[in-house]
Amino acid sequence: MKRALVLLLFATTPAFAQVVASTPRGVVVAKPGHEVQTPTAIVVGRDRIAVLDALNNEAAIIEQPSGRTTRVQTAETPIAGAFVGRDLYVLARDARVVQRIGGARIAVAADPAFLRESNGTLYVYSRATGTIEEIANDRVTRRVTVAPFASDFEIDGRVAYLLYPRDARIRTIDLRAMKTTGVVSVGAVPVDMAFAGGGTAITARILAVADPSAKRVWLTEGTQSTVQAVARGFLRGFLGLGLFGSRASQFPTGVDRVVIRGKQWIAYDSSSGTLYRFTKSKSSVIAKGIAPKGFAVTADGVVYWKDGKLVAPKNAQ
């Protein structure tokens, strides 16, 4: 099922303008000049979504399925958001705050770039200082300084992962203790990562890491705590295995975004706007000329916005 939030009014449509997201109720497309002037991100909740406009400091909160829309002003440059229950929290980067819409503004460190939610607790990573701040009950409850200038920040339960393109490393942080637990090299210039399985009682989390310099997606076994390792009777670190296992480039110009949902493994090259499907043994082009936020991965496959319409190709798998 798909649901388009807005309709095209004109015959001409800029190629880079729409934002596509997958929600529990289907796929949504935010188009310029409708919910907000310049949609830059969509935040998905259980029964609400929010379209952010980082340029014009606006957000539109849309109830699903009624479509009832509430528009609100935000602090400067809302680049990301998260729902905690029905509350929308927005990360306003240039105001250096996390803003609960209709409520508190929580000051965070310089250049906050990522906002993640885990079990009702928010975590903000700020690039300039390398700080992770934990936010609960509208205040910063704890913080840890890791290393600055990460390009991705992901959380899996109580473990956070920070990815560093410059020094080609992943740092892991135990969020219970708010302490760095590991630093592992991966690839040449890793830029983006996604969880690719594992994380059971006997297996560590597997991370897929997009490395445009190596033109590969690396498949990396995530860290585990010492307690977990001892419980399993062995210690394992990151494996850093490139997919395919050969020296051949996996992607012609490299990919710098990776999105994984179930069996759907999707990679994207921002430089050429090329969308790929990939497995452990091969990759294939799905579409070209796609905007960085013009696609979404659903349980059934990938959908993307191209030439003025939403396309849902038949799953090649």
Binding site: A11, A54, T77, R93, S213, S270
Partner: protein, 493 residues
């Protein structure tokens, strides 16, 4: 209206590793300046000089900065279509560099090219794409001061000074070399002024100007003196050019700030310091009321002309004698102000014989023939209405421009050509009742259409009619013989 000017400099900073890079030691740093009182109009000489630089430019950084610079220079002369062409060229260069860098796994190059692609998009007014590219560059290079400075410049161009200030703060925090720090502090001060935070801006500008004049920059000061460097570039290359341009801009900005606050003595000091380095600086000459020198320095500056026309009523002496270009310009402006249109025409015709392509002269000449106040066309405009609009476009009031921006028109048009592919038709230019028009870029319409169609559009402005272009040599812009309407298409039937 505000715009960003650029200047870059050569740095001895070693390239940082980000992939298999081979990063050039040439790092471009950006500065942003407001248009208006501080603007220097680009003279024909400067344009020609920059075109020569472009012909000599080798490598991405040199070429893209030259293109952006030329676009900025054109923009100061209100040559919007030529400016746009340069920005499009810069955008094309940057996009090609992005792809090339990715193919070669050169991620620093990729981030840098992405920032420049964003800047070009910002100058073209494409907000969403510019923002997208800036964010992309930040993913790769959030630790790079130059990229944050580019971010700040693009945000200023797009009219978001608070975002620009935030980005500039990042650049200042990351900069290490004294000249870099000064450049980024100046950019931050600029954004703060536009955000209304003038106290912090003033402190920063005082810091920048005092720092640049201090012994910390003794070596550069000696180089400036030895090389008799005085040119102020919107895109400067090399430390000396960057130093000269930064000092000029920072002092002018600080002077303007003092003026706004009624601190005329302090402002005068800054203007005199500017003239000590460059005796023909139009902004400083204008601010100090030295009109004759200002017009001799840059006779066709729209900013200078506009400022002079405002003060003409307070000037007691008659039209200046003399046959220098500056004197003739002042004479024509005074004649116009007095309603002596025939005399003004004679003066301007004399100048137009020497400078036939000068937009300022042509605009003033049209003004001498103006018989009625400009009016806006109806919803389905006649050819006469559109011709009148082209003629009087510069005289539209701000209110009329706002109304024009909001109005959608519909006309029967004949497109120059129709390129059909995949069920879509691409149009770029055509005529409405014989009145030429064009779009800012080739536009794809869903559906197959004939060259004769009904077009719904908004009118963006007046531009050159590309169909009247005489071909330019390599690296040189073409010349245009007549004006056209620049339209923003909304739909075609």
């Amino acid at each position: 209206m505000r715009r960003a000017l650029l200047f870059g400099r050569r740095t001895s900073r070693p390239p940082r590793r980000l992939g298999a890079d081979g990063t050039s030691a040439l790092i471009l740093l950006l500065l942003a300046f407001p248009l208006g009182a501080q603007e220097r109009l680009a003279s024909d000489f400067e344009i020609a000089q920059m075109e020569q630089q472009l012909l000599r430019a080798k490598g991405f950084s040199a070429q893209v900065s030259a293109r952006l610079n030329l676009g900025d220079l054109r923009a100061t002369r209100n040559e919007q279509s030529l400016a746009r062409a340069e920005y499009l060229n810069a955008s094309g260069l940057a996009e090609a560099e992005r792809l090339d860098a990715r193919r070669e796994s050169a991620m620093s190059r990729y981030a840098n090219a992405t920032s420049y692609a964003a800047l070009a998009q910002a100058k073209l007014g494409r907000k969403a794409r510019a923002f997208e590219l800036l964010e992309e560059a930040a993913r790769y290079a959030s630790d790079d001061a130059e990229n944050w400075n580019l971010y700040a410049s693009a945000m200023r161009i797009l009219g978001h000074p608070r975002k620009a200030a935030a980005a500039a703060r990042n650049a200042v925090a990351l900069a290490k070399e004294p000249l870099d720090v000064a450049i980024y502090q100046h950019a931050l001060a600029t954004a703060l002024i536009e955000s209304g935070e003038v106290d912090e801006a003033e402190r920063l500008l005082v810091t920048v100007t005092e720092s640049l004049r201090s012994s910390k920059f003794a070596s550069l000061q000696r180089d400036v003196a030895r090389g008799e460097a005085f040119e102020v570039y919107s895109t400067a290359r090399g430390d000396v050019a960057a130093y000269v341009s930064l000092l000029n801009r920072a002092q002018l900005r600080l002077a303007a700030l003092y003026e706004q606050r009624g601190q005329t003595s302090k402002a005068r000091t800054q203007y005199e310091r500017v003239l000590a380095a460059r005796s023909d600086d139009v902004t400083a000459l204008t601010a100090l009321g030295r009109w004759a020198e200002a017009f001799e320095a840059n006779p066709f500056s729209p900013a200078l002309v506009a400022t002079y026309r405002r003060v003409i009523p307070s000037i007691s002496e008659g039209p200046p004698a003399g046959n220098t270009t500056g004197a003739q310009m002042r004479r024509a402006l005074i004649q116009l102000a007095r309603g002596e249109h025939r005399a003004a025409r004679t003066t301007l015709d004399g100048l137009l014989e020497k400078f036939p392509a000068n937009e300022t002269l042509r605009t003033l000449r049209r003004e001498t023939e103006r018989k009625a106040a400009p009016t806006l066309p109806g919803a389905t405009p006649t050819a006469e209405e559109l011709r009148a609009l082209i003629e009087t476009f510069e005289q539209l009031t701000p209110e009329q421009r706002v109304t024009l921006d909001r109005t959608t028109f519909t006309s029967d048009v004949v497109f120059t050509s129709a390129q059909v592919a995949n069920g879509q038709t691409t149009f770029e230019s055509g005529t409405i009742g014989g009145v030429p028009f064009r779009f800012s870029e080739p536009t794809v319409f869903n559906g197959v259409f004939d060259v004769r169609a009904r077009l719904t559009y908004r009118i963006l402005g007046r531009t050159a009619d590309v169909s009247s272009a005489s071909s330019g040599r390599a690296g040189r812009p073409p010349s245009f013989d007549r004006d056209a309407l620049l339209l923003d298409p909304a739909g075609v039937q």
